[in-house]
């Protein structure tokens, strides 16, 4: 039988952290309940990684919300396994998508801002949070000539090619972050001024962990609007705009 810790103490400690403390132990090992709950969370995170984004449904939702018509595109990664193993392919548009976007750009002329909604490592994240975030952004941002794109099997840098083809001043990529066990649906937001193929991560600004339990929509929208204003004024983005230092660990999978 599981040997429980004094429950009142751990209940008090748990209010300060989402970490898995106070699980108790069976001998030295996890009690069954905690073991199974961990497995459920892992299952959800795995499903989030492998879920396909319904791009057409997102495009319909954007239209219904008055956010505009979206162009639906696809990277060169043909399936999920290739997407995970070949980050380089997720940074390039498929030939068909590239041709379609060029046609579109020729037809409508250059836009000021390109917004790319992308699956990234969690299709659940954009499906849940992209539209609510953009609605908040609408109320605080003065950008008018905006082109919406929904992109499948995309990495952050796919926005560079998209923004360049659209002749956009800036591109904002809303992308599913690598899912954590306790946060399978975190949305990342990346801003790049003057998008061109070959831009580096040092030339982007990032807002991380956008979701109601993390950074709420309104706060994220205010921050993005601020970064957009600053970028437009300084005509640049990245470390020189605002130094967003991360932790001591290398993170290699968002790009």
């Amino acid at each position: 039988m599981a040997e429980l810790e004094p429950s009142d103490v751990w209940a008090r400690l748990r209010q300060w952290t989402p970490a898995r403390i106070g699980l108790g132990r069976a001998g030295g090992s996890l009690p069954t309940r905690a073991l199974l709950e961990f497995e459920l969370d892992h299952a959800r995170a795995r499903d989030a990684v492998h879920a396909a984004m319904d791009a057409e449904a997102l495009a319909r939702e954007l239209r219904a919300s008055g956010l505009g018509e979206a162009v639906v595109l696809q990277s060169q990664a043909r399936d999920r396994m290739e997407y995970l193993l070949r980050p380089d392919l997720g940074r390039m548009l498929s030939a068909e998508s590239r041709a379609r976007l060029s046609d579109f750009a020729n037809r409508v002329g250059p836009c000021e801002l390109a917004v790319v909604i992308a699956d990234g490592l969690s299709a659940v994240a954009p499906a849940r949070h992209a539209v609510p975030l953009l609605r908040e952004l609408q109320t605080v941002s003065g950008w008018t000539n905006v082109t919406m794109v929904v992109a499948n099997s995309a990495r952050v840098a796919l926005g560079d090619e998209i923004g360049e083809l659209l002749g956009a001043e800036a591109v904002v990529v809303l992308i599913g972050e690598r899912p954590g066990l306790s946060s399978p649906d975190s949305l990342g937001v990346y801003l790049t001024w003057a998008p061109r193929v070959g831009r580096t991560d040092a030339e982007r600004n990032c807002i991380s962990n956008v979701r109601p339990e993390g950074l709420p929509y309104a706060a994220a929208a205010r921050r993005l609007a601020y970064l957009l204003r600053e970028a437009r004024m300084l005509r640049l983005s990245g470390v020189r705009l605002k130094d967003d230092s991360g932790s001591g660990r290398f993170m290699a999978d968002s790009g």
Binding site: T17, F38, G248, A252
Partner: protein, 462 residues
């Protein structure tokens, strides 16, 4: 120089040592991504046969990255000890493997040889070794380091307590620290990855953890895993820094991508030594590494990821660290695809580090986009514990809520102690007994025990 092999009427050539090493490496996604992996299994097997015939001395003549172009190569060449290499100088990579496995090659022999072994030699021989070879040879190596306690002694395994919090909330971090200590974790270090690298946040955490440790007179060390330049600034401002942390890689370009040079590491080490905070020793550095970091920074110079990783150990070795941690499954499936590749890489890293004389620990871990799960982690932590790993991580419930990946838990450490009888650092073991947390054999006492940790902790939790 080209290398070739003829087996059963089939001849294969490899353009240079770097290419041969890459082709001989057990399959992993990062080398395929870099376009340097063997084209098929036959080429991989032939490359190993070819590599087995290469004399160890050849590695001193043909650096995988030119001496002029790379400060890590210069460090490797300039610090090589020809006297220690003497007994190995007649060996090939293949006979080196047999020498390592020979029962006559004992701990003392390996310790003497370490300064004569270059990272490329260690990487090369590991490519010919099966998992059991990596375990057997590593188990014979022993690397003992000291700061406020003694780490790496035989029959012991330590744990880094990793109480991360998504927003660096001091109470949240203290809560995870308390629980970790009550589970008997934290003898390697109590080390936090800060969510914010700002000097102010780093200093606040350093002060809290130091006050906590001093209050209970815990014989361990604390660390905020901030960038070395920030830790230097914190020291200048008088913050209580026990250990200087830095992520390091195996090429000069990788180091540059981390924003660090060898000179900066030397400066930080000197500053930490000057503080004289260690009580039983002065190993003041804590390094983290991981296969794939060079490629992810586009800084691998055509060298396979496992050889790059071994070269990072040359950087670490130069600064006499207390702890070196290979964060093996953190980087993602484009470098290590699944549980099999992660397990193999963990054993390689531990072996290569130990052979080179480093106090190797391992963050046995995976991300949710890798094809791995808790069963793979159980396998790797058990194998590493058998291999004599100096330390592993202790994360509440194995779920790092800041870095979004899964590592080993407080419970996992107890499992390892239970099945393999491994103890903690002796000073820490004695402290746990004094605190009423564990008995004289190191076993955790039950809930009825009158432990002295929680009652005094209210100042951090309100």
């Amino acid at each position: 120089m080209a290398y070739s092999v003829s087996v059963r009427g089939c001849t294969r050539s490899f353009g240079d040592l770097k290419t041969l090493l890459a082709k001989a490496t057990p399959a992993r996604s990062g080398d395929a991504l870099a376009g340097i992996a063997a084209e098929n299994e036959e080429e991989r097997a032939l490359a190993r046969m070819c590599l087995a015939e290469v004399p160890l001395a050849r590695f001193l003549e043909e650096p995988v990255i030119p001496y002029e172009a790379d400060e890590v190569t210069r460090l490797i060449v300039d610090t090589h000890d020809p006297q220690a290499f003497g007994p190995l100088s007649g060996l090939t990579v293949g006979t080196f493997r047999e020498w390592l496995l020979d029962t006559g090659t004992d701990t003392e022999t390996l310790t003497r040889a370490a300064p004569g072994i270059t990272p490329e030699m260690a990487a090369a021989v590991s490519k010919l070794m099966r998992n059991q070879d990596l375990i057997l040879a590593a188990q014979k190596c022993r690397v003992v380091t000291r700061f406020r306690n003694t780490l790496g002694l035989p029959g012991r395994m330590s744990v880094r307590l990793q109480p991360n919090h998504p927003t660096d909330d001091v109470r949240g971090i203290a809560a995870s620290m308390l629980e970790g200590l009550l589970y008997g974790c934290g003898d390697a270090v109590i080390g936090v990855n800060p969510a914010s690298d700002s000097l102010q946040a780093v200093t606040r955490l350093l002060e809290m953890m130091n006050a906590f440790r001093e209050k209970y007179e815990a014989p361990t060390q604390t660390c905020v895993l901030a960038h070395v330049t920030n830790t230097l600034r914190a020291m200048e401002r008088g913050a209580p820094v026990d250990l200087v942390f830095q992520s390091v890689g195996g090429t000069e370009k990788t180091l540059r991508s981390f924003g660090v040079t060898l000179a900066q590491l030397a400066e930080a080490r000197a500053a930490a030594l000057e503080l004289r905070r260690g009580t039983v020793g002065d190993n003041v550095m804590y390094f983290e590494t991981g296969q794939g970091s060079a490629l992810s920074a586009d800084a691998h110079e055509g060298v396979d990821q496992q050889t790059c990783e071994a070269r990072a150990y040359a950087v670490a070795r130069h600064f006499e660290p207390l702890l070196v941690n290979t964060v093996v499954g953190f980087i993602g499936p484009e470098y290590l695809y699944d549980g099999k590749q992660i397990i193999r890489a963990g054993l390689e890293d531990h072996f290569c580090g130990k052979l080179l004389g480093l106090p190797m620990g391992c963050d046995v871990c995976y991300t949710n986009h890798a094809e791995a799960d808790q069963d793979d982690m159980d396998t790797l932590v058990t194998l590493l514990a058998v291999a004599g790993v100096n330390f592993v991580m202790g994360v509440p419930g194995a779920d790092d809520v800041m870095l979004n990946y899964q590592s080993t838990s407080f419970h996992d450490a107890l499992y390892v102690r239970e099945v393999l009888g491994l103890k903690r650092a002796p000073e820490f073991e004695a402290w746990l007994e004094q605190m009423g947390i564990a008995d004289e054999r190191g076993r955790l006492l039950g809930k009825s025990a009158e432990q002295k940790l929680l009652p005094g902790a209210s100042e951090w939790l309100s």
